[in-house]
């Protein structure tokens, strides 16, 4: 069983995460937590100081966090984006595609299920910032779109 699932080589930063609102005034915080209603774009001017962004999923069906993660990655953020809360193995693959590279679910996931979920899909239809080559690019002989 995994409590913190991480796809990064750097040491995890465990400094406490502050809210998006308070982050603006505490630029030494290092870690920030995005709630579903928060605007991830408010963080963009400060990204240089951030090592870890936690994106909270109070209920897994609230998909705003997927957009938040992509927006951060599209802005070039290279720190950790950690999904916390109601996150299950069935959401992992899409979350990875949106830029999440760490997971701290309320309910620990089974290692074997994680492995299956993340190795299942060979190809993807869309381009995101995850570096995978979309099927349309493979079809047209362009492997590094």
């Amino acid at each position: 069983m995994v409590e913190l699932l991480r796809f990064r080589d750097d040491e995890p930063s465990e400094s406490p995460a502050v809210t998006v609102d308070s982050f603006g005034d505490q630029s030494n915080a290092g870690a920030v937590r995005i709630e579903p209603g928060d605007d991830a774009r408010e963080l963009l001017p400060h990204l240089a100081h951030v090592r870890r962004v936690e994106i909270n999923f109070p209920v897994f069906g609230d998909g705003r966090g997927y957009s938040a993660a992509r927006i951060l990655r599209e802005a070039g953020f290279e720190g950790e984006i950690r999904a916390v809360g109601d996150v299950a193995v069935d959401q992992l693959a899409y979350m990875r595609r949106c830029g999440f590279d760490a997971f701290q679910p309320d309910k620990a996931m089974n290692d074997a299920d994680v492995e299956v979920a993340l190795s299942r899909w060979d190809d993807v239809y869309q381009k995101t910032t995850d570096g995978l080559t979309p099927i349309w690019a493979l079809r047209h002989g362009n492997a590094d779109v």
Binding site: R64, S67, A68, Y94, R120, W121
Partner: protein, 544 residues
């Protein structure tokens, strides 16, 4: 028609395996129903009153003969020998066992089909004009664009937990046969002054409890920005659509509350940002898809007359065939509305037969219409009689396209756990009444649509005559609406007044049609007369 390549096939096969695994975890109790629910919904599996219901995607309504036959086989093997064609150009099976569902998906994958994203809060099956590729009035076949959107929207990592379901329709003629502006996004392929093809985006339409007609937000999105623009529309919705109240969660409410202009501004801003991300497939991908939808090898120099004076056949030709772009051909509609039948239902044998007829008479292609009928898009006029005779021998030749007998009805209380009232028996009684009194012909084009509750799966808002089932102190009750349309003159029907019981609603419909017969002027349809004279004369006749 489109054919999977190894990538498409592998995506669908992988999904089957994934769902097999999820079902196994559910059956073993490892996965709670709460966690399993969104997963099964994304594979089209609903839990209904009596059993699971499986909804199979028919992308833009197009099927090959072999696919249609496979749908018939599934009806036999896993259901009770029936399939139900729906207003979203899909097919539903009402009596499915959970443990069979992965096997059904595997059977579907063998004929390049699936049930991916046919329910759940994700981008649903893309619908289109059922006469695409055959209609004389289209500027281009809309389906290649729908296919491009299908691939983009399948397994979309960001948009699988939207505030609510999301439906897209693509058309390519000014005549709207797909209720385009009643979709979350309606796209009309258009030509600009320079002669280039592009997409007009209408966003924020829908039915349900708050019906709205989508406003135009961009009159011309170039072809090489179609996916990026769609992504922008969805991202603004995913971030800002309401999640506090599921009845206010559709994009129509966002566009309405935010205002069309502000929504459009935010989309444009997101679009500018996304353009720099290079997420758009190259035009070469569209060029790869397009030939799959090229015209079949229409014969030239064939007879352009329909020879037969058998009255039944002539009536069917007059009602159920539609002008085709190629001389010597028509599109032939197989009505799934026999008098007294269940709208949209077909037996396994009938489904297989229609598959064979598609192969034999229509270049191996058929279509599901949102009016719950089947089209053979390209039939030679010279072979129509032969086709008709086979249909007639198999209970598939009801001559009633677009008449009051061609009723759209949702499953209602006979199957649906959300229903207030039954829809199917009302549809049956109305078609029996009008077939019996012989008024169908005189009434001409009259679109009657029935929903068993406010969710409007039966499009009642958009019927020339609409019927809505409501619950009146525990008793089934029906409201009557007049004046809706889902065609290019989109409008929403208005309620006449107090509701009726099951027999009362049939009488009320007949009274409304009598007003039309009495007041109509030359060439007017029911809808035109209603628009000219207004509600009052109808109210007087119904309640007076």
């Amino acid at each position: 028609m489109y054919q999977y390549d190894k990538y498409d096939q592998q995506m669908v096969d992988t999904r089957v395996e994934e769902f097999r695994d999820q079902t196994r975890r559910r059956l073993s109790g490892e996965l709670s129903e709460e966690k399993f629910r969104p997963l099964r919904l994304m594979n089209g599996l609903y839990l209904q009153l009596h059993a699971y219901m499986l909804r199979v995607a028919v992308p833009y309504g197009t099927l090959s003969g072999a696919q249609m036959k496979a749908l018939g086989d599934i009806a036999d093997k896993y259901d009770r020998g029936y399939g139900h064609f729906t207003t979203r150009q899909n097919i539903q099976y009402n009596w499915i066992k959970l443990e069979d569902a992965p096997e059904i998906l595997a059977d579907l994958a063998k004929v390049e089909m699936h049930a991916i994203q046919t329910s759940g809060n994700c981008i649903r099956n893309i619908s289109s004009d059922h006469f695409a590729g055959a209609a004389a009035d289209e500027i281009i076949d809309p389906r290649p664009y729908a296919e491009l959107l299908r691939q983009w929207s399948s397994f979309h990592p960001e948009f699988s937990y939207l505030p609510r379901k999301f439906k897209i329709a693509v058309i390519a003629s000014d005549t709207d046969r797909a209720a385009m502006r009643l979709h979350d996004i309606g796209i009309q392929m258009v030509r600009n002054d320079a002669g280039e093809i592009g997409c007009a985006f209408y966003v924020g339409g829908g039915m349900g409890r708050t019906p709205m007609v989508a406003p135009l937000i961009n009159a011309f999105v170039p072809l090489d920005e179609l996916i990026t623009y769609s992504e922008a529309c969805l991202r603004v919705y995913n971030r800002h659509g309401r999640r506090d109240n599921k009845y206010k969660a559709r994009i129509k409410i966002l566009v309405h509350e935010m205002g069309k202009d502000e929504y459009t501004r935010q989309v444009e801003e997101e679009f500018t940002h996304l353009k720099a991300q290079g997420i758009e497939p190259p035009l070469a991908e569209l060029a790869r898809i397009e030939p799959y939808f090229a015209d079949p090898a229409f014969k030239t120099g064939i007879v352009d007359e329909i020879a037969s004076d058998a009255p039944d056949f002539a009536l069917w030709v007059g009602r159920n065939t539609v002008l085709h772009k190629a001389p010597g051909y028509v599109s032939a509609v197989i009505s799934l509305k026999p008098v007294g039948g269940i709208p949209g239902d077909a037996s396994a044998d009938q489904i297989r037969l229609m598959g064979d007829l598609a192969t034999e008479y229509s270049f191996d292609e058929c279509r599901v219409m949102h009016t719950q009928n089947i089209v053979l898009p390209h039939v030679e006029k010279g072979r129509l009689k032969e086709l008709y005779d086979t249909l007639a021998a198999n209970g598939l030749a009801a001559p009633n396209l677009d008449t009051i007998e061609d009723i759209i009805a949702c499953p209602g209380l006979d199957y649906c756990s959300l229903a207030n009232a039954r829809s199917i028996p009302v549809a049956q009684k109305i078609s029996e009444r009008f077939a019996g009194n012989g008024k169908t012909a005189a009434l001409g084009e009259l679109k009657l649509k029935i929903s068993g509750c406010i969710n409007a799966c039966g499009h009642h808002h958009a019927g020339h005559i609409g019927i809505l089932g409501v619950d009146k102190k525990g008793v089934e009750n029906y409201q009557l609406l007049l004046g809706g349309s889902e065609a290019q003159d989109t409008s929403l029907g208005k309620i006449t007044g107090p509701g009726f019981d099951e027999d009362g609603i049939v009488d009320a419909v007949e009274k409304a049609t009598d007003v039309y017969l009495e007041k109509r002027e030359d060439g007017e349809r029911f809808l035109d007369t209603y628009r000219r004279i207004g509600m009052d004369p109808f109210k007087e006749a119904i309640y007076g």
